[in-house]
Symmetry: C2
Subunit: 321 residues, 2 copies
């Protein structure tokens, strides 16, 4: 167990968490990032054109650049999944799967994670044919048979990508039509690789060591069908993974952490930034700005608790600290 008490514990390592770490470390605060993975949702973005400074950049490359920037400072980065957060006296304790972390302030930047279907076999076969990221994993299924669960423009894009690799793609969706751009759907079907599975309800993912089949039920006829395949891609959106925060900080009805303009949650000393918050716009540059704000608010909070003046905060010049 780590007995050290950090100034700032940042949970999550997407662009919000990394930017918070950059600012926290530059303020001279003892900083640790604890995250289950590195880079958050951005690593899955094939191309970003709306992050100021880059006309076009792969999400993974942007994250790598910011990570290198953070690593230039004395920031500890630990891979662990936080299960519980509590206040104990003057500091917070975060319990992870492999260790426990103590800090005087916390920045929640754990973002969103792909929504799961919640059907039997899904969890067990994750990474063994069940994927939540077409952009990441499509190339692994060259010449194989896969299904894409999803709809709308994003579903269409995903199927289109998969069709470039797979021998056959089942497009599985709950309504009668997968996407209201009929021409786009027609053009996709004309490639002869895609089969539509409309009005589908997912029943189970089957397989012993790897995915072998997908069971779907027709919502109108209740008829079940078992589709033999090698991979199931689930792209039905994202949700914040904030179960461990329930009762600790205020969450909205979507499970997002409620923050004010300065990144403060309902718990003094706990701040939040990026997609995990109830900020309605989810964008990389907004998450980065919020990460900076959360770190500066944590700094201000620490200085106030420690009885130091922070009058300079509002008058910093860019790049001067």
């Amino acid at each position: 167990m780590d007995q050290e008490v950090y100034d700032v514990l940042i949970i999550g390592s997407g662009i919000a968490g990394l930017t918070a770490a950059l600012y926290s470390a530059r303020q001279g605060l003892k900083t640790i990032i604890v995250s289950a993975d590195l880079g958050g949702q951005l690593v899955m973005a094939p191309e970003i054109q709306n992050f100021p400074g880059f006309e076009s950049i792969r999400g993974y490359e942007l994250i790598q650049r910011v990570e290198a920037q953070v690593r230039a400072y004395d920031v500890e980065v630990v891979y662990d999944e936080i299960q519980e957060l509590s206040r104990q006296g003057e500091y917070f304790v975060a319990k992870g799967l492999s260790s426990e972390y103590r800090a005087f302030t916390v920045v929640l930047a754990c973002g969103k994670a792909p929504k799961e279907l919640g059907v039997p076999g899904e969890k067990e076969l994750r990474g063994k044919g069940v994927s939540y990221c077409v952009v990441c994993d499509a190339p692994l299924f060259k010449g194989r048979t896969v299904a894409l669960v999803g709809w709308g423009h994003h579903g269409w894009e995903s199927v289109n990508t998969l069709a470039g690799y797979a021998r056959k793609v089942y497009w599985v969706f709950p309504s009668a039509e997968p996407y209201d751009d009929e021409e786009a759907v027609r053009s996709l079907l004309s490639r002869g690789v895609v089969e539509l599975v409309p009005r589908a309800q997912l029943v189970a993912v089957k397989g012993s060591k790897r995915v072998e089949a997908l069971v779907v039920r027709n919502r109108d006829t209740d008829e079940e069908r078992e589709i033999q395949l090698d991979g199931v891609f689930i792209e039905i959106g994202y949700e914040p993974k904030t179960g461990f925060l329930k009762g600790f900080v205020n969450l909205n009805d979507k499970g997002e952490v409620v923050v004010d303009r300065e990144g403060r949650t309902s718990m003094p000393g706990v701040f939040a930034a990026g997609d995990v918050t109830d900020m309605p716009y989810k964008q990389a540059v907004i998450a980065a700005g919020m990460g900076s704000i959360a770190a500066l608010s944590a700094y201000k909070y620490l200085m106030e608790v420690r009885g130091k003046k922070v009058a300079v905060l509002s008058d910093w010049r860019h790049g001067k600290r």
Copy 2:
């Protein structure tokens, strides 16, 4: 007079305004930037190390990169200084020195401008020896005699920079000591280039075509002194230039535009971002995030006014629109 009505008029072209333009244009909104200069305060930053994605970048280069990114879209950029903003029926009218601009929404991103001393000769000799930016103009005074009006760490940095070029630097400040790091001041004085002018009150800048002298009064003795020199650098902070907004949107006691978390001002349809707002932290990445937020809020406002649904706003994926 320009009779066209834009969807979004952005006042200011710093990182906040440029990022707002990027997002506004990418939403398909007819966008115009009106600004007195290009780039805002960032162009004066010699080095930025805390903008995510760049371990180190000159402020000017960052702005150039974002400007190029904006120019790839159909955004009009006009150099003009807005004097008045008003609502006329369903749109806003902004009166500039050279033209008039109409738009259904406005994003205020006019940042801050250097504080002036307000002494005779200062305005008249601006750009003729009076400068508000050591980083920009110090090299122009190689081998000449200059004064720096300022204090603290920033004042010290400015004098230090000037001492690398000028033959002599008068460091002019109102208190008894210019900077509480005495060792740093001693080391600077040991170079033999700098003369301290403590307890100084500025009386006037003198010169016919260019700066010729600076008149200062001693706060204790009331004695006046005329210092012969070639340049006067004034680095006493920044303030928002929001005089033209008084009575139009709520300002705080610093003259900053009051905004909520989504960049909304007290006037529906008018949004604000960056250093001109009452967000207490002034940082480039925060201004960029706020620019994105203001543009998305303008988009949402326009869609609501026009009776269109904007349900997708909160679920955009990075780089997908």
